[in-house]
């Protein structure tokens, strides 16, 4: 993995994380720091899974 692909991968993960964290923020009933921390964590796991799934489908 060279510098450019690493940058692209980071950007993709960050985009997935942002989308998933925003979705979490919309779906929870009360916004408090604990919920935000848990949301950030699961959004990170979800971003990894989403990128893996996207790569499995497009084979790149």
């Amino acid at each position: 993995m060279d510098r450019r692909t690493a940058l692209v991968a980071t950007g993709e993960l960050l985009a997935w994380w942002t989308g998933l964290a925003l979705l979490w923020l919309v779906l929870i009933s009360t916004v408090d720091p604990l919920e935000c921390a848990v949301g950030a964590g699961v959004a990170a796991v979800g971003a990894l899974a989403a990128r893996a799934a996207r790569r499995a489908v497009t084979w790149r």
Partner: protein
């Protein structure tokens, strides 16, 4: 009983009743369409009940149904693909009528709750409901048979 509950009851009685009748009688091509459209009747009525009883947690049921309903239909489309190829169901009008019903319900509820996180959640559910049903309906009528590796 307020107007929201009345609308939800009417929707359940007419929509879900028709769906149960369609699923339990007639040829396979009609049964799968009724099974697919049952989500479009029950999900908006759950949203209306959530508003009527002022219980936001009921909205989560509608979210779950909007997610899982089309997935269930895709399983049927896969398992029954041989039978459906011989006699493909065509329900373009019904599909778009159900999509319109979901859209109208979501828009009215959005107007009722006003701009907030709850409104965004309603819009997410509406998009899932309409998009999922259109995709599932298309899968039933053989629209995705040429999908690469599908």
């Amino acid at each position: 009983m307020n107007d929201w509950n009345l609308a939800a009851t009417l929707l359940l009685a007419v929509g879900a009743g028709a769906a149960v009748w369609g699923v339990s009688t007639g040829p396979l091509r009609r049964r799968v369409v009724a099974q697919n459209l049952s989500t479009s009747a029950v999900c908006p009525s759950l949203l209306l009940l959530a508003q009527g009883y002022d219980r936001p947690s009921y909205v989560d049921l509608a979210l779950l149904l909007a997610l899982l309903g089309p997935v269930g239909t895709l399983v049927f489309a896969r398992l029954l693909s041989d039978e459906l190829t011989d006699d493909p169901p065509r329900a373009r009008g019904l599909t778009w009528a159900a999509a319109g019903l979901g859209a109208v319900t979501v828009v009215v509820l959005c107007a009722a709750v006003g701009p907030s996180r709850a409104m965004v959640k309603l819009l997410v559910i509406g998009a899932l409901l309409i998009g999922g049903n259109v995709v599932a309906s298309r899968a039933l009528s053989g629209g995705f048979r040429g999908v690469r590796g599908g």
